[in-house]
Each structure stands twice: as structure tokens, then as C-alpha cells.
Symmetry: C2
Subunit: 221 residues, 2 copies
């Protein structure tokens, strides 16, 4: 077969169709062979544009994570944290089938490090000690990843007869799979509680060691 004047494939097109398969049929449905078929090409051809399947998944993830907003730390840290957390969760929820990969894959890529740097910088500029900035970034990530990964509502069978007398407190649990807004509400509840709890910590730190630049917030607002 002659080489076409313009290549049949590009990394972008491979990544785009790959994400389409994941969104439509699930993470396990993405195979190099199936992806090639969708692109009217043989599996081996993909390796001219992508080093391997794992790298392709990282490329797809990079695209999805580009929607995360880490830029809102200018006014105050609770606002920056909330904007980050909500846009992060929205990005994951937009592609739920990709979440297991997104959550487990370490964030070694340039863009991931840039986002981490922005969040950390935003918190430190707001007066948080380095160590707290790290822990707050981690805590927030846990909440986001957990809420995207472990849909609480979908975890329960929709068949009412499953529960009967054996699980008296779950007598309405069969309704949960229809009420997926319970996941969004739970996330907001947890995020509010986390931010409120952190505000308290912030006040305590500022009051305890007002002069010690290494251990306390430097510019409390």
C-alpha cells in the first residue's frame, strides 16, 4: 500500500478516538487492535505515532486534565481551593471510565507538575506553611479522586428486594442509583467541611506562633 501524501494518523486523532472508545465502552474496551480498526488501519501502525498503550493513556489523561482550573488563588485560598477541587472533579466526572487510570497514574508529566506547583504556590502565598500546603493539596486530591472513583449512589443494587429485613437501615438504598446527585451533594458537603476545618487550623496556626515565619502562616488574611 502506497504511503499517502498526508499521513493517515496523527497522535491527536489516535488520542481523540481512544477517548471516544473509553467514554462509550469503558477502559477495558480500549485495545490497540480495536482502536486501529476504528481508524481504518492495522494495530502496528499506531506504533509509528505512539510509543505504547500506557503512554497513549497518559496523553489522553493530559488532555482531560487540561480542564482543571488552578488559577483562582488570587483573591483568597479557600476560593482557589474550591475552584481547583470543583473543576478537577468535573474533569473526572466528564470521563468516568477513565478515572481508574487517572487516579492511579502518577502525575509525572509536565502539565501535572505545573498544576501542582500552582496549587502549592497559591497556598504558600496565602500564608500556609510548606508542610500544610502539601497536606492540603493531598487532602483535596483525596476527596476529588475518591468522589469520582467511588460513586456512592451507584454502589447499591437497584433491586429493592435485596435489602428486606436483613439491612433495616438500607430500606431506601435501592433508590440511590437513580439519585446520583447524592454524590455531588456529598462532595460539596465534604468540601465545605474540609475548608471550614482548615480555616480553623489556619486561625490556630496564626495565633499560636505569630512571629515564627517557618512554622506559621506568613500573610494571614
Amino acid at each position: 500500500m502506497p504511503r499517502p501524501s498526508r499521513p493517515l494518523l496523527t497522535t491527536e486523532r489516535i488520542a481523540r478516538v481512544g477517548l471516544e472508545i473509553i467514554d462509550a465502552e469503558g477502559l477495558e474496551a480500549l485495545s490497540m487492535r480495536r482502536l486501529a480498526e476504528r481508524l481504518d488501519v492495522r494495530a502496528a501502525s499506531l506504533y509509528n505515532h505512539v510509543p505504547n498503550k500506557d503512554d497513549l493513556l497518559h496523553t489522553i489523561s493530559d488532555e482531560v486534565m487540561a480542564q482543571v482550573d488552578v488559577s483562582d488563588f488570587e483573591s483568597d485560598w479557600p476560593t482557589g481551593l474550591r475552584t481547583w477541587a470543583r473543576s478537577y472533579r468535573a474533569a473526572l466526572r466528564a470521563h468516568p471510565n477513565l478515572v481508574p487510570f487517572l487516579a492511579s497514574g502518577p502525575a509525572h508529566r509536565e502539565n501535572a507538575l505545573r498544576r501542582a506547583d500552582r496549587v502549592h504556590g497559591g497556598l504558600v502565598r496565602a500564608g500556609w506553611p510548606q508542610r500544610y500546603a502539601t497536606m492540603i493539596g493531598a487532602s483535596t486530591k483525596y476527596l476529588v479522586v475518591g468522589s469520582a472513583m467511588a460513586s456512592f449512589a451507584e454502589g447499591f443494587p437497584a433491586d429493592a428486594s435485596v435489602y428486606d429485613e436483613r439491612f433495616p437501615h438500607l430500606d431506601r438504598a435501592h433508590l440511590l442509583p437513580q439519585h446520583t446527585e447524592i454524590d455531588a451533594d456529598s462532595f460539596e458537603l465534604a468540601l465545605s467541611a474540609l475548608v471550614d476545618g482548615l480555616r480553623e487550623v489556619y486561625r490556630t496556626l496564626a495565633a499560636a506562633t505569630p512571629e515564627d515565619e517557618a512554622a506559621a502562616p506568613q500573610h494571614p488574611r
Copy 2:
């Protein structure tokens, strides 16, 4: 080959060796063929004791999750919640390679429903309205699953040169992979903040509608 007087295999032994492989070599390293080899048997033999690989993973998960303590709601709900959250996280951290499956698999099994029922019952008995009990269970699960799934410390490259001038706020991030206690500390910080935040919600609910049994805590302590 003659049928032995006692079967070579049992579901328990298959599950135990399966978990050993996962712990030692990772979730992707567990294949029915590799598992069979370890058990000195052919892959097809496993299907006399286990319906398929997915069911086997659920059996293994059930075993691991049996370590979760949902019994500590007798004195007060914050204690019950903390005991649940900590034992849940400990169970996941004991088998980190299994976490992606544990987190994604819906909790349809008998024991999982029993645990959910206990947590929900503990919260409702403490005076939380049904809807809040659900959201608190969900929020706590997010935190636990997120912290077990997305190790913050391990997410950063250990090579200091990666960061240099490009990520000024991450100048000490290369030290994180050695400091995995940052994940435990971050989890405790988030758990404290969550419980404190919820205490506040509890007080607000009790004060707002002291007579309304449907919408407010019934036995505030």
C-alpha cells in the same frame, strides 16, 4: 491423572495465593494461568472452584474488607466514623495493589451491604437525618478511597533535577516519595476537618428545627 482423595484446590487457597500474587507483583500480574501455575495445576482447573476472574477478585476483596471495623458507633458518632474511616484505610493500605479494584467494584456483596447498614444505622441512631447519614457515609468513603488510591507522596518524581526553576514551589517535592507519612498525616488532617465540619452542621441542624423529626437530629448529644 487420577482424581486425588482430597481436591488439590479450594476456593480459599485460590483466593489466598491470588492475593499473594497481587501483593507481590501487582494487580495486572494476576492471571488465571499464572495463578494456576503457582498452584501446580492448569488454568482450566480453577473454573471448578471459581466462576471467573472477576468473581475471584470480589472474593479476595471480601476477605480484605473484613478487616474494616464498623462496630464503634456505640459511644458517639464521631468516634464510630473515625474508627470506620481509619480501619477502612488501613485495610486498603495493607494491599495497595488491590485498591484500584476495591475502589471501582460496586459493593453488591452481602458483607459490604452489612457494613453500609451498620454505618448508616450508627449515624441515624446518633440523630442524623437519613439524607445526612447517606452523605456522611459517602464523604468518608471518598476520603478513604482517595487517600488509598492516589498516594500524593508517590506521585512526584524523586529526581530533584526535574523541578529546577520551572516549578519554583515544588523545590522540595523530590523528597516526597521518601516521606510517605505525609499521606497518613494528610488523611488525618482531612478526617479531623471533616468531622469538625460535620459537628458544626449537626449543631446547626439541631438548633434550626428542634421539633421536626424528619429533618433534624433526633437525639443530639
